[in-house]
């Protein structure tokens, strides 16, 4: 049927995951997307999207259905087939077009307003292009924008139907914070920036040798946390 219990696994070695060679983008597209991701998660005293190799993550994702799902242990990728592969192929085709057109739009905006391709602009100029592209000023710190309630969408944050800029923002997050097996979050820099003690490998989450148990609070009694428990015990046995 659609999703299978056992897909063939394409071993990581055969996919050459360490390579920095583009598999979908051409050189110019690669440089443009890399520059744009570096404005979405900029480098400061901590690494940003560039160091995390987010562009590589996006390039791999767009390259083929063989990079959609890592195997559970991260030793390779699931080779989808049948209607599931067709569905993903159709989705990736649409996404590829979104990126091709997106790079063109970035360059057009850059050319019209700053006289050069996007990748050649300064950080400030690139931000100005992203403001035009998104139709909004660059975001302000969260603590100064606390007012409104925000609807939280479906439990799945997929890229279904997204336009270029929101897709790029979402994919940049994914490439910064996703498991390194997908080509981004290089050497776990994304996790280090925010203090997430992530697993050394997907395999460690499968065997559960990776654990965050030590972060639980083991030294507080339930009777202390839940006064009702103590009150009941006292009512039963006042001594």
């Amino acid at each position: 049927m659609a999703c299978r219990s056992h897909w063939e696994v394409v071993p990581e070695a055969r996919l050459d995951l360490d390579s920095d060679e583009p598999t979908f983008f051409d050189r110019h597209e690669w440089e443009t997307i890399e520059a744009a991701t570096a404005r979405i998660i900029p480098t400061d005293h901590d690494p940003g999207a560039r160091e995390a190799k987010v562009v590589r993550f996006i390039d791999r994702y767009l390259s083929s259905v063989d990079h959609v799902y890592a195997s559970a242990d991260g030793a390779g990728f699931l080779r989808l087939d049948g209607i599931m592969a067709d569905a993903w192929a159709g989705h990736l085709d649409r996404m590829r077009q979104v990126y091709r057109d997106g790079v063109r739009t970035l360059d057009e905006l850059a050319g019209d307003h700053h006289g050069q391709p996007f990748a050649a602009l300064s950080d400030e100029q690139q931000d100005a292009v992203l403001e035009r592209l998104s139709g909004a000023d660059r975001p302000v710190p969260i603590t100064s924008a606390l007012a409104g309630g925000h609807a939280y969408g479906a439990s799945l944050q997929s890229d279904l139907g997204l336009d270029f800029f929101p897709a790029l923002c979402l994919h940049t997050r994914q490439g910064f914070y996703g498991d390194p097996v997908y080509g981004g979050n290089h050497e776990q820099v994304g996790w280090q920036v925010i203090g997430f003690p992530g697993p050394p490998s997907l395999a460690a989450t499968q065997t559960c040798t990776y654990s965050v148990y030590h972060l639980l609070v083991a030294d507080r009694d339930w009777a202390d946390l839940v006064p009702h428990v103590r009150e009941q015990a006292l009512a039963k046995d006042p001594a």
């Binding site: 049927m1 999703c3 097996v181 559960c208 148990y213 946390l225």
Partner: protein, 560 residues
């Protein structure tokens, strides 16, 4: 196309998730020959599951693929429905229990009597359940012990009487839960460790060492999380009476000349059509897909869909939107580690029963939960890009917590599931179209509780709070109820108190479709307890040679 016909069996169960797994176990252990048809795969938890956030949360590894199994959504009948992945509950053996968080509280007695308690509420279609808490109590206990859970007896001041405690103690609290407990204690609120469908000790030989924090929305490679894939399904298979057929998509329930259901037609993984005949047909697909299958099963006798003489199939749908406040804490304070534990930790029932001074009726369970893993961690209103985005993640990833409510939405006649007139799935069948507009009471409950949660968070030390209110229903809990409500009057309900269709007495619905109202808690314990209760009844009827009326009189003596 040639339709093959395997040997008839006693019972066919459609959908092998929470309710289907329960029915399969109870009926096969009672000696009936059961076939379970599941449209998703039969995965091996140890081999296929791990903590891959991108795969599960963003690329929907075990969720319905939106191109193959689309759904549509609209706010009201005068709108055009749009493609929208509404309530994307996973499709595989184990269903929603595979990647759920496992909140496992019992409902309260008031949940079964909303109409008696509140009378006519304008715009709502409140109804009492034909059964009450006492009818389900023995089955809550059976499910809690057989399926496995954790909890602390006596900690929830508002809980109704229980005949037994919990099979295993709660997991130690998370750092964010401790803040919540302490804030509640200072405010005089009763907080308690929420019962969870997980075991902390090797109950029934289970392996309890998944402390990765990759919990809600992930498959568990151990057997710490309670899933039907790793418990009731293997137990059913061990009887030798249960045959599980994964990758089988049921598209019609068939009727015999006597007006009884006589089986189902499905498409198997190779595209073959199969007619499986059975003495009893049980639908366990979740309230959206069960309603859809009934509506797809049209015949001369039931031109509007099977068992739909009341016109209520698909109506009164409720979905429990998850609304919440997020508290942001000073980054210089002790970290909250919002990715640790098993998603939820502390909870309270203080705001569950109606208190009209709040400006709304009803309420529900409130709980402190993870903000979860880095890509998708819950920061509503997160800046989209730039240094504001980077700072927000860096400053608050370890310093935020969520306090949420399972919003008990009121049933409304016009909130419904029906067949989309134009959109079809990859098998050429019309997809489910969801029409849902929140009731004024739902909106009021959301506003009041989200603000109350912010107040608790401030007491817990939050320096800022971010409210997430109900605007429109997104189906973000994957709780589904109401589309084939149970009741005693065949003109006002679809199934009877044993969850047999009024119109077709050997057709049962055992998932959340039968809930007349949505209750204030996560539905699955109640769904499973009810499925167990009704499956015992079905086995009883079978033992008496299929005489429904005889068995029905020997049934429940509460509230019927």
């Amino acid at each position: 196309m040639q339709v093959s016909k395997p040997d008839p069996v006693d019972v066919v169960v459609v959908g092998v998730g929470a309710s289907g797994g329960t029915a399969a176990k109870v009926l096969s252990e009672a000696g009936l020959k059961v076939v379970g048809l599941e449209r998703g795969p039969f995965m091996n938890h140890r081999e296929q599951f791990s903590g891959d956030e991108l795969k599960y949360l963003n690329r929907g590894y075990i969720a319905p693929n939106h191109d193959l199994n689309p759904r549509t959504y609209r706010n009201s009948a005068d709108e055009e429905a749009e493609l929208y992945p509404f309530s994307p509950c996973p499709q595989l053996v184990g269903g929603g229990t595979i990647h759920w968080a496992g909140w496992f509280p019992r409902p309260l007695p008031c949940d079964f009597q909303m109409r008696s308690l509140h009378g006519d509420v304008e715009g709502a279609s409140l109804a009492d359940w034909p059964i009450g808490y006492d009818d389900l109590e023995p089955y809550f206990t059976k499910v809690e012990w057989e399926f496995g859970c954790s909890g602390l007896e006596g900690a929830n001041k508002f809980e109704a009487p229980r005949s037994q405690g919990f099979p295993t103690p709660p997991l130690a609290p998370t750092a964010f839960a401790v803040r919540f407990y302490d804030a509640c204690a200072r405010m005089g609120l009763n907080a308690f460790p929420l019962p969870m469908a997980l075991v902390t000790e090797p109950h029934k030989g289970r392996d309890t060492h998944n402390h990765t924090g990759f919990w809600n929305q992930y498959g568990d490679p151990t057997t710490m999380k309670s899933t039907t894939l790793t418990s009731f399904v293997p137990e059913a298979l061990a009887t030798g009476n249960f045959e599980l057929r994964p990758d089988c998509y049921v598209r019609e329930v068939t009727l015999g000349p006597d007006g009884k259901a006589n089986g189902v037609i499905y498409v198997d993984g190779d595209g073959n059509e199969v007619h499986q005949e059975a003495g009893v047909v049980i639908l366990c697909q979740g309230a959206i897909e069960t309603a859809r299958l009934l509506l797809l099963s049209q015949s001369d006798r039931f031109p509007e869909g099977l068992a739909n003489s009341s016109g209520l199939v698909g109506r009164n749908a409720t979905f429990h939107e998850f609304v919440f406040s997020v508290g942001l804490f000073d980054k210089e304070t002790e970290p909250l580690y919002g990715y640790s534990g098993a998603f939820v930790s502390g909870a309270t029932f203080e705001f569950y029963e109606t208190d009209e001074s709040r400006g709304h009726i009803g309420g529900g369970v409130v709980a402190a939960s993870q903000t979860a893993q880095p890509i998708n961690w819950m920061l509503p209103g997160r800046p989209a890009w730039g240094s504001a985005l980077k700072d927000a993640d860096r400053d608050y990833f370890n310093h935020a917590m969520v306090l949420g409510l399972c919003l008990q939405d009121l049933p409304q006649h016009d909130n419904r599931v029906d067949l989309d007139p134009t959109v079809r799935d990859a098998w050429g069948l019309p997809v489910a179209r969801i029409t849902h507009k929140p009731h004024a009471n739902d909106l009021a409950m959301s506003r009041w509780q989200v603000e109350k949660n912010a107040e608790i968070l401030r007491e817990a030390g939050a320096t800022a709070t971010l409210p997430v209110n109900l605007e429109r229903c997104t189906g973000n809990t994957c709780h589904q109820h109401g589309t084939a409500r149970m009741g005693t009057d065949p003109s006002q309900s679809v199934v009877d108190a044993w969850c047999a269709a009024h119109d077709v007495d050997n057709l049962y619905v055992l998932d959340g479709s039968v809930f007349p109202t949505s209750t204030g808690v996560n539905p699955t314990l109640t769904i499973m307890a009810n499925a167990w209760r009704c499956s015992e009844h079905i086995a009883d009827v079978h033992a008496r040679g299929g005489d429904q009326t005889l068995a029905a009189t020997g049934g429940s003596n509460h509230g019927l």
